[in-house]
Symmetry: C2
Subunit: 194 residues, 2 copies
């Protein structure tokens, strides 16, 4: 198939694959359609896939010993998502993955990724660079949690992810920022008063 007509040109933007590889890669990608509220993964499950978000909004969250939810990541169009700690190891999932807005995803299995990596170095480079970017954004998140107040983190979240805020509930954002929904509400009030 011609790559120009293929989802590959969206997912792996910037890479042009030899024709013989395109069909192989496409054969490893599986489409999934999910509805708002659906669960993609639960803690304790085995994590076989990572997911490319073509449409919709997804979040990964952790449930602590008190039953409290903590949002690790949101994903919208053109993001990859999974419980990577489990996906990269042989551990079971610790995260839950939930659909916040009707979603169209492509999934690829760990096994197939390894096969593809041996076929085409470009793909391994692509995912290595994705990982570097994700690592960098986690680093910024850690520093922001250490150095910034709740209010500052919220303002920064809004400017960094304006497209996410529209898709999610305030209590999702609060659980991402590490504060309660009541605190977020007070912060929002202060901000409108400024």
């Amino acid at each position: 198939m011609d790559q120009n007509n293929s989802i590959l040109s969206e997912i792996f933007k910037g890479i042009s694959f030899p024709n013989n590889e395109i069909d192989l890669i496409e054969s490893k990608l599986e489409t999934i359609n999910l509805k708002k509220g659906d669960t993609l993964l639960r803690a304790d499950e085995t994590v076989l896939y990572q997911y490319y978000v073509y449409k919709g909004c997804i979040r990964t969250y952790y449930i602590d010993k008190y039953g409290k939810e903590h949002t690790l990541q949101f994903a919208i169009n053109d993001w990859w998502i999974s419980d990577y700690t489990a996906f990269f190891s042989t551990e079971k999932a610790i995260m839950h993955i939930e659909v916040l807005q009707d979603a169209e995803l492509y999934r690829i299995s760990k096994k197939d990724m390894e096969i593809l990596f041996t076929e085409t170095t470009q793909l391994e480079t692509f995912f290595r660079k994705k990982m570097e970017k994700a690592f960098a954004s986690f680093q910024k998140r850690i520093l922001s949690n250490l150095a910034a107040s709740a209010k500052e983190r919220y303002v920064s979240f809004r400017t960094t992810y304006p497209n996410i805020e529209q898709n999610v509930k305030n209590y999702h954002i609060a659980s991402y920022l590490g504060i309660t929904t009541e605190s977020l509400s007070r912060i929002r009030k202060e901000l409108t008063q400024d």
Copy 2:
């Protein structure tokens, strides 16, 4: 050179390189010896290298707008360290890197890494996997900051990194945990009373 006598067998444990590659890789690694208190990198500098810690103890920290330090990572034997956000991009460093115990390091430049990646896929795979592990540990750190109390985080730090605690000051640990040195002191007192 025979890989068995080479630092390569330590740094890239588990990979056996073809003989013709060993000299090439070694030619890209540079030894650096530093004293306690030395600075390896300052914010605003260009980050050309990543560093393999063969001996000693290193930390990366961020200085916020109030002048307060926040430790992002410690590194001891067999860890790689850099300001990765800058190293992987074209941005200037936001981190400082400081030597906490006399250190023997090997550094490799970004440019040389790219050259080596085109020579040998094994190296790219090695660094991709390193990055996956580092990403996973940052994920755990974020969740721990969201879900655990200062006391829990300290206890967890001690059990996860028993070899680091010996090498660093309490205020380094406090700034890693996101608390003041006074709070850490109170927590330590409580723990001895238990």
